[in-house]
C-alpha cells in the first residue's frame, strides 16, 4: 500500500508503469485519475485544494485498508495533491492490482467514492469574478450507501 499526499505534480504514466511493474501474479491493474475541470463554467482560473495534514493520511489509510479487507487485492496506490492547481491538471490518482479484474475495478470505485466525501480535502474555485468553495454533492454522500 502506497499513499502519498503531496503538492507536487505526479507523472501518471510513470506511476502507473511503476505500480504495474512491481506486482507479481496480478492479472489486473486498474487506474483512475481525477482532473481539474471547470465545475460550473465559471471561467475558473485556478483551484486551491486545502487539506488536514495528519488526518488526511489517516483517513486515506483507513479507506485503503477497508478496500483491502473487502476485495482480494495485491496492492493499492493513492496519490492526492493539494495546493494551487489549474484546469486540466491531474489532482489525484488511485491504482489497484488484483488477480481478477472485478476486484480491481470495484476496489477502485470504492476508493473513489470514499475519497470524495471521507478524506479531508476542500476545493476552492478561483475565478475572475470571485472565489467560491465547492459544495459537497448529495450524490457523493448517497454513493457511499451502495457499499
Amino acid at each position: 500500500m502506497d499513499i502519498r499526499v503531496q503538492e507536487a505534480a505526479f507523472d501518471l504514466g510513470a506511476e502507473a508503469n511503476a505500480f504495474a511493474g512491481k506486482q507479481t501474479g496480478m492479472g489486473a491493474v486498474v487506474t483512475f485519475t481525477g482532473i481539474v475541470r471547470d465545475l460550473d463554467e465559471t471561467r475558473m482560473t485556478a483551484m486551491q485544494i486545502e487539506h488536514y495534514p495528519g488526518m488526511t493520511e489517516k483517513a486515506l489509510e483507513k479507506i485503503a485498508t477497508e478496500a483491502s479487507s473487502r476485495w482480494n487485492l495485491g496492492d493499492i496506490l493513492i496519490i492526492h495533491r493539494y495546493g494551487r492547481l489549474h484546469p486540466d491538471d491531474r489532482i489525484m490518482m488511485v491504482a489497484t492490482a488484483a488477480r481478477h479484474r472485478a476486484d480491481a475495478f470495484q476496489a477502485a470505485e470504492f476508493l473513489m467514492d470514499f475519497l470524495k466525501s471521507r478524506a479531508p480535502f476542500w476545493k476552492k474555485e478561483l475565478t475572475g469574478a470571485g472565489d467560491g468553495w465547492v459544495a459537497a454533492r448529495d450524490e457523493d454522500e448517497a454513493a457511499l450507501t451502495r457499499w
Binding site: G34, E50, Y52, G54, M55, K58, A59, H80, I91, M92, M112, L115, K116, S117, R118, A119, P120, F121, W122, K123, K124, W133, V134, A135, A136, E141
Partner: protein, 81 residues
C-alpha cells in the same frame, strides 16, 4: 486542547487554529463556548448541519465526548477526489 478550522469555517472565523484553555465535556459544549465568544463564531456555527467535526483526527459527532481529546477540528463536508 487545540481547535482547528478548515475551508470556509477557517475563513469565517479568521484563523486556522487556536488553543482553548477550558475543558468542554462534549463537542456541543465546545461549540456553545465558541458561539458565545464573538459574533464571527456565532456566524460560523449557526448551522451545524453544514459542518463536520473530527476529534483527534477521526470523524466524530457533535454529541461526542471530549474526554482526553487533544485536537478538535471543524470543517464543511469534504470534497476530495
Amino acid at each position: 486542547m487545540d481547535v482547528l478550522y478548515f475551508a470556509w469555517v477557517r475563513e469565517r472565523i479568521g484563523q486556522p487554529k487556536e488553543r482553548i484553555a477550558s475543558n468542554p465535556a462534549t463537542v456541543m459544549d465546545l461549540v456553545n463556548q465558541l458561539r458565545a465568544k464573538e459574533e464571527r463564531y456565532a456566524v460560523a456555527f449557526a448551522d451545524l448541519s453544514a459542518l463536520r467535526v473530527a476529534v483527534d483526527q477521526e470523524l466524530s459527532d457533535f454529541d461526542a465526548s471530549l474526554a482526553n481529546a487533544r485536537e478538535v477540528a471543524f470543517f464543511p463536508p469534504m470534497t476530495g477526489g
